[in-house]
């Protein structure tokens, strides 16, 4: 009996695992039932093991375990059998990876790279759209308009050289500030002033409406405004603390002023009532007075743009 396991090992280099187990079992006069009882396994499992029908067993992991336990009982080297088994069926580690239990469609997780990229692209798109909208809303439109305004102004000044009258008072204190900002506009009148003063003085004596204009001490203005045309006594004074674009039209719909004023400048206008104003940048207006009364722009201020008619009613 003791020699039988050795014999079986010697004779069976090419014997299968099941045969080896069977031979060892029979050599020790065990029945299949006895082995099954010992291992607490169904007899059919022992049959399958001996037949080599391992695929009928629950899984290869269990097959390995059963072979090892069986070998231990009949007293042969289980590790050797497992080696043979692994050669036939592959190592345990080469099993396919664990599958998910959920049979439903997998939800996309936030950490998913696809999801992350998609959200980045979405975010960038949103920012781009907002930026584009902002540009079109606030900066592009005014620039376009200003361009057209500037060209129209140039035409106007070229057409009539009515610079003389408003320039008359440039010798007053305010002229210095104007001179700093718009030297081209003020240099010319400076030269003119001495020669023209006497002539203008006499002209003003005869013209009552221009006399009124002269009475105001701080009539400083660039050449563009058509102040000469105004024959009415209404007065509009605006002082600026920053660059501001504005349009002023009189009752006839005639444009009195349509341009940009720079910081520190002021604008004085008179025209036929009612005057309609469109101010492009309310925050740049230091003070707006009409007939000496300060006008509060706050009620008209819509997104820093104000549209109003004077006098207020």
């Amino acid at each position: 009996m003791s020699s039988m396991p050795d014999d079986s090992l010697v004779q069976n280099e090419n014997q299968s695992i099941g045969e080896r187990l069977r031979i060892s079992r029979e050599s020790q006069a065990f029945s299949q039932q006895a082995i099954a009882d010992e291992l607490h396994l169904p007899v059919r499992y022992i049959q399958w093991l001996e037949e080599g029908a391992f695929e009928k067993l629950p899984s290869l992991v269990f097959a390995r375990g059963y072979i090892r336990s069986y070998a231990k009982i009949v007293g042969i080297d289980g590790a050797l059998l497992i080696d043979i088994f692994n050669q036939q069926y592959g190592m345990s580690d080469k099993r396919e990876s664990i599958r998910s239990v959920s049979k439903m469609q997998q939800q996309v997780k936030l950490g998913d790279p696809v999801m992350r990229w998609a959200s980045w692209i979405f975010l960038i798109a949103i920012i781009a759209i907002v930026g584009w909208w902002w540009k079109t809303q606030y900066s592009l439109a005014p620039i376009d308009e200003i361009k057209s305004i500037v060209s129209s102004v140039e035409v106007e000044t070229a057409n009539d050289n009515s610079l003389a009258l408003p320039i008359l008072d440039d010798s007053s204190a305010d002229a210095t500030s104007d001179a700093a900002i718009e030297p081209a506009a003020t240099d010319e009148p400076q030269d003119l002033s001495d020669a023209e003063i006497a002539r203008l003085q006499s002209a003003l004596d005869s013209a009552p409406e221009t006399e009124v204009a002269l009475q105001s001490p701080v009539e400083s203005s660039a050449g563009e405004d058509d102040a000469t045309q105004s024959s009415l006594i209404e007065r509009l004074t605006i002082t600026f603390n920053d660059d501001c674009w504005l349009t002023v039209k009189d009752a006839d719909g005639q444009t009195l002023f349509k341009n940009i004023r720079k910081s520190g400048e002021s604008l004085k206008l008179s025209g036929k009532e009612p005057l309609s104003l469109l101010i492009g940048r309310v925050s740049a207006i230091d003070e707006l007075s009409y007939n000496g009364n300060t006008v509060d722009l706050a009620p008209y201020n819509i997104k820093n743009v104000a549209k109003l008619t004077l006098p207020l009613n």
């Binding site: 375990g65 336990s69 990876s97 664990i98 998910s100």
Partner: protein, 345 residues
């Protein structure tokens, strides 16, 4: 941000932070580290420094001079000494990374006992973080053990796994990638050693160290009576004489010594079977119970559980590394559906 860059130079790790041994599985490489969870601390004045970690430190256990203490920072499967555990992990993580230019910052999967408390899990998570991990995931030990043993965990089929570790024994019934029933008893290899020490002291009046007890257990320890009786010569300090004496132990004596812890394990296996839903219990009765963990290498322990429960019991392939390998398999699924396997407490 910098951690992310360093992460590019680090590989994902699965760590079986056991009471007795720490194993590290590196994604794509397999198990690269298997060392005892022991740290030797040298104290000079108020300064404490790590003298040795792992195998070197284990050799020092019980043999240290006054200024060195060899510590096992894990006890009963959980952290007993937070800072030392952190140091140990740090050492192991840097050891498995060859790159010395960047300090590694890997994603780490750590196994935790299934009945550990939130505080204990948090401690494990934080010590791994402190050791330089970029992200820490936790997986319950029996789940990792079952995956590592190659059980069909994803099938609608009950599998029972008994993982006998150094500090704890984890018993779990698993089906559909989840744990149906789990029990953890704080009995394991360490308790076996203690039982041997106690037995020798009581019956031979001699003191032996834990290292000797472990050697006795490994060489002649048995969980079930068998025909062949093994013997071993050991030396211990005789308590009465105070002199080292040599004596011989045999496997039946060790069997007797181990009765208490073994019966506790058998009892919890039985109670797990009692608590198990009937369908799963019948699956288990059909296939059998799978033993993993270093404790299952005790001779005839499968036989003991099989006889006590009347069910087939099989030993997993390479039981020591089952948990680490299972963790590694879960790690490879980390980006896909590992959330089914992980625990988020």
């Amino acid at each position: 941000m910098f951690k992310k860059i360093r992460g590019l130079f680090s590989s994902d790790l699965s760590i079986d932070l056991g009471t007795a041994n720490t194993l590290i599985y590196v994604r794509g490489k397999g198990i690269v580290l298997n060392e005892p969870s022991v740290v030797a601390i040298r104290q000079s004045g108020n300064q404490k420094s790590v003298a040795a970690v792992g195998t070197d430190a284990k050799r020092m256990l019980g043999r240290t001079p006054g200024n060195i203490t060899a510590i096992r920072p894990m006890k009963d499967g959980v952290i007993a000494d937070f800072h030392v555990t952190e140091k140990m992990l740090q050492y192991f993580i840097s050891k498995v990374h060859d790159n010395s230019f960047f300090s590694p910052s890997p994603r780490v999967l750590v196994c935790v006992p299934c009945k550990s408390t939130q505080v204990e899990r948090r401690a494990i998570k934080e010590s791994a973080m402190g050791a330089g991990a970029r992200e820490v995931y936790l997986i319950e030990e029996p789940m990792a053990a079952a995956i590592g043993a190659g059980l069909p965990v994803e099938e609608a089929n009950g599998s029972m796994v008994v993982d006998i570790g150094g500090g704890t024994t984890e018993i779990a019934v698993i089906s559909l990638n989840g744990i149906v029933y789990a029990e953890s008893v704080r009995i394991g290899g360490d308790r076996f050693d203690e039982a041997v020490v106690t037995y020798v002291r009581r019956n031979y009046g001699s003191l032996i160290g834990e290292a000797t007890a472990e050697r006795i257990k490994q060489e002649i320890g048995s969980a079930y009576p068998s025909k062949d009786v093994l013997e071993i010569d050991v030396r211990g300090r005789n308590l009465a004489e105070g002199i080292p004496r040599s004596f011989t132990l045999n496997s039946n004596e060790i069997l007797e010594a181990l009765q208490d812890p073994l019966s506790a394990i058998v009892q919890s296996v039985k109670s797990a079977l009692e608590q198990c839903p009937p369908e799963l219990a019948s699956d288990i009765a059909e296939h059998g119970i799978v033993l993993t963990g270093g404790g299952s290498m005790l001779r005839h322990i499968d036989r003991l559980i099989s006889e006590e429960t009347g069910l087939p019991v099989i030993l997993a392939e390479d039981p020591l590394t089952c948990v680490a390998r299972g963790g590694g398999r879960a790690l490879e699924l980390l980006d896909k559906h590992a959330f089914e396997l992980l625990t988020f407490e």
